[in-house]
Symmetry: D2
Subunit: 339 residues, 4 copies
Amino acid sequence: MIIVLKPDCSQQKTDEFCRLLKDNYNVKVNTWNGVHSTVLGLIGDTTAIDIDYIDAQDFVESVKRVQEPYKKANRKFHPDNTVIELANGVKIGDGSLQIMAGPCSVESEEQIVGIAKSVKDSGASILRGGAFKPRTSPYSFQGLKAEGLDLLKEARKATGLPIVTEIMKESHIDMFESVDIIQVGARNMQNFELLKELGKTNKPILLKRGLSATIEEWLMSAEYIMAGGNNNVILCERGIRTYENFTRNTLDVSAIPIVKSLSHLPVVVDPSHASGKAWLVEPLAMAAVAAGADGLIIEVHNDPAHALSDGAQSLTPAQFDKVAKKLFKLKDALSREDD
Amino acid sequence: MIIVLKPDCSQQKTDEFCRLLKDNYNVKVNTWNGVHSTVLGLIGDTTAIDIDYIDAQDFVESVKRVQEPYKKANRKFHPDNTVIELANGVKIGDGSLQIMAGPCSVESEEQIVGIAKSVKDSGASILRGGAFKPRTSPYSFQGLKAEGLDLLKEARKATGLPIVTEIMKESHIDMFESVDIIQVGARNMQNFELLKELGKTNKPILLKRGLSATIEEWLMSAEYIMAGGNNNVILCERGIRTYENFTRNTLDVSAIPIVKSLSHLPVVVDPSHASGKAWLVEPLAMAAVAAGADGLIIEVHNDPAHALSDGAQSLTPAQFDKVAKKLFKLKDALSREDD
Amino acid sequence: MIIVLKPDCSQQKTDEFCRLLKDNYNVKVNTWNGVHSTVLGLIGDTTAIDIDYIDAQDFVESVKRVQEPYKKANRKFHPDNTVIELANGVKIGDGSLQIMAGPCSVESEEQIVGIAKSVKDSGASILRGGAFKPRTSPYSFQGLKAEGLDLLKEARKATGLPIVTEIMKESHIDMFESVDIIQVGARNMQNFELLKELGKTNKPILLKRGLSATIEEWLMSAEYIMAGGNNNVILCERGIRTYENFTRNTLDVSAIPIVKSLSHLPVVVDPSHASGKAWLVEPLAMAAVAAGADGLIIEVHNDPAHALSDGAQSLTPAQFDKVAKKLFKLKDALSREDD
Amino acid sequence: MIIVLKPDCSQQKTDEFCRLLKDNYNVKVNTWNGVHSTVLGLIGDTTAIDIDYIDAQDFVESVKRVQEPYKKANRKFHPDNTVIELANGVKIGDGSLQIMAGPCSVESEEQIVGIAKSVKDSGASILRGGAFKPRTSPYSFQGLKAEGLDLLKEARKATGLPIVTEIMKESHIDMFESVDIIQVGARNMQNFELLKELGKTNKPILLKRGLSATIEEWLMSAEYIMAGGNNNVILCERGIRTYENFTRNTLDVSAIPIVKSLSHLPVVVDPSHASGKAWLVEPLAMAAVAAGADGLIIEVHNDPAHALSDGAQSLTPAQFDKVAKKLFKLKDALSREDD
């Protein structure tokens, strides 16, 4: 950590502050005097230092971290890729391409089993489906809830596909015991109480990036889960909020290589929510795979026009089949290239 | 709601769609044919219509709401200002200026009682203080928790000031029973499960705007609470996330008159979090009052340099006293003007 | 164009306004009465209507365009792709992948000729290089200017590669007569005087997207050039400004399929400026090609560490060679897929 | 400037790099070794160092400026406020409140003279009016151009009010010789060629902040003008682009105190463009004055509904009179407070 002091900070204050830093945080402090300012360099483990505490000093001009504030999620300390293996042997993060597919909301047994069979035939290895739905409006359909979870399990039984579905409060964790991957939605990325509780389980967690979360904040949310002992975190880029309003969100495709550089965790991409438009799913999914994503999560609905939520961004099974074929071919071509 | 169909939508499809809209949503549908597109106008209560459902139709080019999607929070249907009265008779939303002040985190009885007395002397009518703290890092101080709540009550007993403090999960609602105003933090603005539970209480709720929430989404979150039966919502603008990185957030001062125009709910402003810098609190607080805010929530700490969290943006009691005096004088001048 | 009137707009005002619209703009006006508002639908050519004029009426609640405000750049009216052919037969927009490569700034004959030969060998078909450099600081190197243009021509003579370079003011247009593609930088995307003058030439124009331009504004800037008679516009996505600060800009990869859907103009991508980091150029370029870009513009410098500007994002010739090979292989794989 | 090297940077590379920095930039370099990284501290004048050059080194992890990159605009080196005095004795930046008012576009002699008289009566000290208009669409009204300038001079003759109007290209500078304040629009804030030419004049320049310019970039654009020898720069905050779409832009009210802290230049605020809505002009103008703005620039039109551009945000003369009265009363109250 590097601290720049204000030009008018006295020698006495500087000395006091250095002593305080050493005593409180067990770090070494190097000092050098610039033309206008004095600069302090802290050496040691600075993750416990609250950067706001430093910034609070009225004689501090600015502070900069040299070390990232996350440890367990940091590739520097865990150079090997984390690979998450599911019950059916599917591995996420091992260099393969895994596709999670299914409807935004589970609506009926017929619907979810039908879609599950269809997406499995198209190559999807994981079934997605919402049972508890976070909706902007209290007057919108909020999901089938517990019944939806049961239907997902039926679909799993029928197809062998592991299931991923969103949790919305920590008191539901028991209910999600038999879910294969628990999803934390973008709006709950900094619901720290939920993250802490999920950290006590050993379930794979699909952690969506918040609507306006920086990559560092996103990794810090992964760190919350991992700090509790659960290292099975899958990061999911789903578009960020920008001024551009043609799409619902702006897919931050650069987040894929950046996360893979900063962290050892796998990264999947949600092109459906990133764009909000079915016709953009294919090009965004292709871009994500080309940029190195470990997987995709794609909305598929047998009847998007009558979907109870988010129909606009759902592919039909036939469209999905075509897109999945292209994605696997692309992945093949990329893999050959790497040989 | 206005729906623009794509140029190539057939007459048959158009007719079917109009029938479906009438049947499902009990609305009247007007049609007119433009040069390139057909436009449908829906008349009736369209708040229950999922705009995504409409957008999902592959023959729909775009959709636009005419009516706002919130009802209980909407000034159109409740022209009079909502005024929230606290135990000590303090009213928020009645044209007066109320200042909530106190430390980011409660740290000790001495600290919180001392600050409470001091801010009361300076004119604050409500005591703020964090017991449960949402922190970006799992390694940062997370608040004194239940003990912090107890200390806040001690400070209330000592000064008579009602207290406002942040809740982080719905299972804590009972614990917050004796809190005067329950704060929902920016990161939980769309924690819908929490909002629903708070809707079942009759506590005043201070609902902070999410980091990148639109004004409409913010009002929809208020609607979540109100839909449950709790109309005591106070909206709190605390800066939004933009590309500008000199300040932690960008205070959206225009949100004040906009919210007061769209809704009947009171609006307060948090200049401390909006800027993240103590020296900006005064000018931003002045701007907020001049723009019509019903109140302010300001961080005050007896020793900001040693505050356990967010010290950078805290005023000392002496600084706060000076700022509060200026704010009340400004409010006086503005009130005289309105006469 | 659809206009929603305020609930309290009188019948008389409505009638007057409709008459005014018909008279001034030669459009047909349809009216229908909703529960709370009256809605007007305008039929005819509304591109000449200033949407702000409509919004100015104090009895207007909101306005929405149904038709896009651009005509010449609009795919609706020009369904076929625009293909731009350069002197050496290179075609942009015909389904092939064209790579423009070269240094940020031209520095010397040896440098630019050397790089030109090298990137040509690696498969680049166009040479890029800055002679006039827009720099944030007046104290930074501003380019070799006219001398830089001469050196680019030398490099063209030595390699046969057409050249693309940035113009910064309209009085330089004559000087750019022999340039093959004139680049308009992001900061000048709405320098309308420059766009108008470029519209009077018949040069291919590489129009970079502004730092915070919407896709519609970008297309309107293309329309400025085309309105003058020059249809040879190539759009260049180069990252947009968002709150995320890990990268200099955020590549908006979805802009590629969106622009190709809304417009018939070719789209190329600048992964170097989008990321500001050399190690991100490869994954972003791969993503751009997978998403359907017609070309790329990539910074290559023989000695990035000593580059006079923007070295951080430049590849060495050896790195570029490796990246270009991967890009062409990817393009091949994608083309086979389409067969 | 502080440079953090990557963990794997060899001692030899570090030494070479330090030598190169000392030789090329005449700075002293301090080194210290952290646990994971080596950090270099550069002492001396670093404004000439291209931060991208440093960042380009593949062994550099990150770079941070300690000194601001602007010198002439920097309050550190020029502690006293710059006060700009106009022909009629009006001073901007001396602690007074100056209001510039007038129509978005000059339309006729009658219009501009009428408005000029009216706003003068209401207390405005400067007349604004657009002769050359930057418009997003090539099909929109582009201003009366030279004729508009003549009409502004007529209005100045009739009222004695100095005039401010926007320039759009450097070849027009001669034509603007008799204009009192030359405005550079938001879209031209980084039209560096224009800035350089304006730097050679001694005209007061009203420099609007770019749509997505950081405060530092804005000050760097002021530096461009000042580097040429013209110190008469007035900064104008006019709202920045954010994801919020209720208003056209988001007024960054915190920019006022920040700019006044970083720089000695005066700051005025444009509440008309910041909001795009007439009813928001008053609260935003009040906020700006309360936050310390030196002036305001407000659109006034005798007939906003028929204004040829930007009518939506224009006040009528009667509305302006009421707003101006409130603003001056507020300023009075604030001034008394400061005594």
